[in-house]
Amino acid sequence: MTVFDKIKNLDRRWIFLFILISVIIPLLIPLNLKLNTSKPVEDIYSYMNSLPEGSVILMSFDYSPSTEIELNPAAIAIVRHAFQKKLKVVALALWPMGASMSQNVLTPLAKEYNKEYGKDYVNLGYKAGGSVLLISMNNGFATEFPTDINGTAVTDLPLMNQVKDYKSCALVVSLSAGVPGMKEYVQIVATRFGSKVAAACTAVSAPEMYTFLNSGQLLGLMGGLKGAAEYEKMIDYNGDARKGMDAQSVVHLVIVLFILFSNVVYFVDEYRKKTAE
């Protein structure tokens, strides 16, 4: 077996080891690489900044723990910005696990910013139905969510007397890891009901959303951990996303180097085969 054959049939555990090292080292020894912001993220930040005090943001937590690492930093950055700007937050979930995700984000931040439940923020919890639920909600949030996540009647929550339907919300943010999620919000809430919709999604699903971004149906987009890191930078907060950017940088570089290396081996091997003939 030649050296080329050995490289071609490289045990994948070596690749796993390289990836592991390139994740761990930058997390332990930060590189503090400079991060630039992009327009889709800047657009969300600027719009949030332009909102008057007391405006309501509807946040939909449409993800589960598997994508928590990518989407929680985005959720935290938006809620943090909203609380700093004295905006009100109403949370709901189209995914069963999303209700717990929203509680984990809202409860500590509300404590940090001294926000009162029911007055400054409300968590409506999860409801089944996906896109059908989004259509029904246009007739009034209270009809679809008569109680909040704790079982309290929404009529007993002062904020929910102010928030009746999508028109009461200055911005709808979908934190989405799949279906139902941001696509349904764009198609129904933005396009059909005319609300402003922004999205934060996993990096892998971001390219699909550019079609809605370019058509103006989507106000802005935070794609993956990078999008969240950009938002953290804009609100001057050093959260998990910014800390994770160094590791992601090195891993991307290592994967690119692996691909380059495998292509070099491939072409050299092809050349050797041709010359041998």
Binding site: R12, L33, N36, S38, A128, S136, P207, Y210, G224, S249
Partner: protein, 214 residues
């Protein structure tokens, strides 16, 4: 009648939903159906749990290959659902403990494994065997590196970087032009497919949703 009645319900409901979408006067009908749907969707969760139990119990009773995993799954399902029903799901409950210390790290671990498999698969499969594959490879390099700070740093070291910012190449050209064109083509194709399948369901031609392999 086991097939005819569900088909009649599907056709009637579908037609009503299409008609009321274009006739604002009958919008209330749509609201009634949407409410029904929300209630039925809730029951689908119960149906899903029931189906999961049946499938796994069946595998255990047959002692099928890997039946031990089915036992773990059923214990997990019953322990989680039982603790939630008995004690509630608030902070400090057993349900919360299971969710925070079992479900969350296990789910995150499963998803994180993707990074390792993607790296391994890319090493083996991502070869510039043709012009198209080469173009895809170069684009992937630009996007992969351009999306992280280290790529921006490397690009800025190039002499022409100031005249062509990397974000412009990625946001405007690759994502905004080529990617959007491709995505729209896929979406339009899929939408036409959905319309076609919906019509077939409404007309009773497509019946696979009823089960039974017909």
């Amino acid at each position: 009648m086991r097939r005819e009645i569900p088909m009649a319900i599907t056709t009637l409901t579908g037609l009503i939903m299409i008609i009321v979408f274009f006739v604002p006067r009958w919008e209330d009908w749509s609201d009634i159906f949407l409410k029904w749907f929300t209630v039925i969707a809730g029951f689908a969760l119960v149906l899903g749990a029931g189906s999961l139990l049946l499938v796994n119990l069946n595998k255990i009773s047959r002692k099928a290959s890997g039946w031990g995993y089915n036992v773990v799954l059923i214990i997990g399902l019953l322990a989680t659902a039982g603790s939630g029903i008995i004690q509630g799901i608030g902070p400090g409950t057993m349900f919360d403990f299971i969710f925070v210390y079992f479900f969350t790290p296990l789910s995150a671990t499963m998803f994180s494994l993707l990074a390792f498999y993607i790296a391994s698969a890319a090493f083996r499969a991502f070869k510039a065997k043709s012009l198209e594959a080469g173009l895809l490879l170069v684009t992937a390099f630009i996007v992969m590196l351009g999306r992280v700070p280290i790529g921006e740093m490397m690009w800025n070291a190039l002499p022409f970087a100031q005249s062509i910012p990397l974000t412009e190449i990625i946001e405007k050209w690759i994502m905004g032009c080529f990617n959007t064109a491709g995505q729209r083509a896929i979406m339009l194709g899929a939408s036409i497919g959905i319309i076609s399948v919906s019509l077939k369901i409404l007309l009773g031609i497509e019946r696979s949703y009823l089960g039974g392999g017909d």
